[in-house]
């Protein structure tokens, strides 16, 4: 097993390319051994695909993949799939879960500072009602809520902004930096748009952290720039920080820096793969492969996502953080397939 205590003492964004490559090569190899020894399915897949092959994320939707005995599982997280879609199921034991919280806190504090800020959660407390199954949304909120104080929910049960609560929060913390957190689309649809239509503007100071995908935003032709500008105009918040992450690798998220670049931390790494042959590419758009050192209860340390991205550079982002930085273009375009059968059914 990796020496996590040591890993958590490493600078979060301080490892340069050569050192990090070597560190990750050996760390991921150790994790691969661990999962091959403890997850029969993972062993069979890597026997066929090759030892260092990433696991396609969709496998977590189709199979229950665990590297610990079932009794050790304390939490099962699910992706927030739309109705009818299969959801990923991610099994966490105590260690993996704790590691995720710790890594999240280490990473995020590099952007919002170490002091806990008053926190406005742009969502409804209803999202936490079903505690049996942790949706990605609920888990994300709980994870981030550790990083704030005076946790306040901005939306009511009907996903409408509760102006009384928001105003009280605003008055109480006037002149202080605050932390706003939520999911990109929820913030846009149920907070920003709702405030715009009520012609309400707020006067917050601080930072907004948001994640969760751009697909629905793209449908409304809202890109990151427009999102940022509108958030600034409506809430007064100067710093808007997106993150890229997935329920299959909770904790080791990729945060957007002041330059608008997503950064890999010491807990994670990415590679961009050419769709034609899955060879890593440095200077063009391709599939994102994500590595994380955190998961030991399920084989999720090396994943092939279905997102496209592009590497922007290594170690030389003007923000000063070392490591890879990149951008995400979103889900890869769905396959257009010829053939006689109208619906292709999987076995």
């Amino acid at each position: 097993m990796l020496d996590y205590q040591k890993i958590f003492e490493l600078p979060v964004f301080g490892m340069k390319r050569d050192e990090k490559d070597a560190f990750f090569r050996s760390a991921l190899s150790e994790l691969t051994d661990h999962h091959r020894d403890n997850c029969e399915a993972y062993r069979r897949i890597t026997d066929v695909a090759g030892r260092d092959s990433p696991l396609p994320v969709r496998l977590f939707k189709e199979y229950e993949l665990l590297s610990v005995p079932r009794e050790a599982v304390i939490k099962t997280m699910t992706s927030s799939g739309t109705t009818g879609q299969a959801v990923s199921r991610i099994f966490l034991d105590r260690d993996t879960s704790a590691r995720q919280s710790k890594a999240l806190s280490k990473i995020v504090s590099q952007f919002i500072g170490k002091t806990r800020l008053p926190m406005l959660i742009v969502d409804s407390p209803a999202v936490l009602k079903d505690r049996n199954m942790f949706s990605a949304r609920g888990a994300g909120i709980l994870g981030f809520s550790m990083l704030g104080r005076d946790l306040t929910w901005a939306l009511d049960e009907n996903m409408e902004p509760d102006m009384t609560i928001i105003d009280n929060f605003s008055k109480k913390h006037e002149g202080e930096n605050v932390l706003l957190f939520g999911f990109t689309f929820m913030i846009w649809q149920h907070f920003i748009q709702a405030l715009v239509s009520r012609e309400e503007t707020l006067a917050f100071e601080g930072i907004l952290v948001h994640g969760g995908g751009w697909k629905k935003m793209a449908d409304q032709s809202v890109d990151n720039e427009r999102f940022k500008q509108t958030v600034r105009d409506v809430t007064g918040i100067g710093r808007v920080c997106n993150y890229y992450g997935m329920v299959e690798q909770t904790g080791s998220i990729f945060m957007e820096c002041e330059q608008g670049h997503l950064h890999a931390s010491v807990f994670s790494d990415i590679r961009i793969l050419d769709g034609q042959n899955f060879a890593p590419v440095e200077q063009k758009r391709g599939l994102i492969e994500c590595a994380s050192l955190l998961p030991t209860s399920y084989p999720g340390h090396r994943l092939l996502t279905e997102d496209e991205g592009e590497l922007l550079g290594v170690d030389d982002c003007p923000c000063g953080r070392a490591g890879k930085y990149f951008r995400v273009y979103g889900r890869v375009k769905g396959a257009e397939i010829r053939g006689c059968s109208d619906t292709y059914e999987r076995r």
């Binding site: 199979y63 034609q276 375009k333 292709y344």
Partner: protein, 388 residues
């Protein structure tokens, strides 16, 4: 029915049958062939070119001659066609088969817009002008996926040609028809290819690249997702050398001509992982980039027809003898393509073993060639009525 767009024809369609392979019908089909052939852009659309070639005078004449006596045969009346949404020109073949049998047709066009459909419809409008009897028996329609409209067409149909796989067949079979309505249903099928390794070694480089191109046309060209695209490759007189020669040539052809979508690459990779988990008979998977995946099997154990790849993902097995194959063939099996084998022996194998599947044995390269005998149906006979 206000939601129905009549791309060709109108609601006032005649259901009065014509004589099977009547001179008028044959002349019309030939005229259509000429017009399609003359269409300037036909080279850009090999499927339209294939349609034009199939309609040509020589072929229709041969089909008519092979059919035998049509003296006391008429179409059944009105045939309703549900075309598959993913193959652009299939609707035209379906309609022509019904027409040759002597039927009027209402054809539901694929929901997706393909340039081929527009081309065919434009040319067809011109061709129909000189054949009023056929014109009043032809309607091509488009409408949103609504069972009420389909149900209306089913109520007036004397025959139905239902394409689109198991789901569509089941759904449309559930709609009410006239008691005497005849259904030809084209369900999901499974196809395979048998290659004689020795014949590969005996083939020169030119022959090999021709074979590769033929194999490409059967598979990658249709994303390997047509019913007649082989999924399973069986080797007889197998050798590493033969396989190497064949796959190298196939790969050259595919890398020149196949546009691999990233989503398809992900799907193939995920399929390999699923196979690793579920397929007990899997020996391993050989990959050349993401273009070609070859999953090697150590035994043929059913249900083989679940072994389906898309976009160049093949299952391979070294066949000891044909009896091994006989043990797994079900009614799902449609096309057996072959290289270096005796076709009549293969047909005899199906017969002697009384197999419930394998409806066609054709050379590699002919998997997609649709004809009046398809899926085991003698379509023109089934869509016509005999006056005894």
């Amino acid at each position: 029915m206000s939601d129905v767009e009549y791309v060709i024809g109108s609601e006032n369609i005649s259901n009065i049958p014509m004589q099977t392979y009547s001179d008028d019908i044959c002349r019309f089909v030939e005229a259509l062939s000429e017009k399609l052939t003359k269409f300037g852009d036909v080279r850009r659309y090999p499927d339209v070119a294939a349609l034009a070639f199939w309609c040509r005078k020589g072929n229709i004449g041969r089909l008519k001659a092979d059919f035998g006596s049509t003296e006391f045969r008429l179409g059944r009346g009105l045939c309703f066609h549900v075309a598959p949404s993913n193959i652009p020109v299939n609707f035209a073949f379906s309609w022509l088969f019904a027409l040759l049998a002597g039927n009027a047709s209402v054809v539901r066009l694929p929901g997706k817009e393909y340039p081929q459909i527009e081309i065919i419809c434009n040319i067809l409008r011109g061709a129909l002008r000189d054949f009023p009897e056929i014109e009043e028996r032809t309607a091509f329609v488009r409408y949103p996926a609504q069972n009420e409209i389909t149900a209306k067409f089913c109520e007036i149909a004397d025959a139905r040609m239902i394409w689109g796989g198991d789901g569509t067949v089941t759904e449309i079979r559930g709609l009410r028809t006239k008691p005497r309505c005849v259904d030809l249903t084209f369900a999901d099928r499974y196809s395979l290819c048998v290659i004689n390794g020795k014949a590969i070694l005996d083939t020169d480089e030119n022959g090999l690249s021709r074979l590769a191109e033929h194999f490409f046309n059967d598979t990658w060209l249709m994303d390997q997702n047509a019913c007649s695209s082989p999924q399973l490759i069986l080797w007889i007189n197998d050798s590493e050398e033969a396989r190497g020669r064949f796959w190298d040539a196939a790969l050259v052809c595919a890398s020149e001509r196949y546009e691999l979508q990233t989503a398809v690459a992900v799907e193939k990779y995920a399929r390999m992982c699923e196979d690793a988990l579920e397929l007990e008979t899997l020996v391993g998977v050989r990959r050349d980039g993401n273009l070609l995946y070859r999953a090697e099997l150590k035994a043929l154990r059913g249900p083989i027809e679940n072994l389906r790849g898309r976009g160049g993902y093949f299952y391979e097995y070294r066949l000891k003898n044909l009896d091994e194959l006989a043990a797994v063939v079900t009614d799902k099996y449609q096309t057996l393509t072959q290289f270096g084998m005796n076709e009549d022996e293969l047909r005899g194998f199906v017969l002697q073993n009384r197999l419930r599947g394998i409806d066609r044995v054709v050379p590699v390269g002919r998997a997609m060639d649709i004809d009046v005998v398809w899926d085991g149906f003698d379509i023109v006979r089934m869509l016509s009525r005999v006056i005894a």
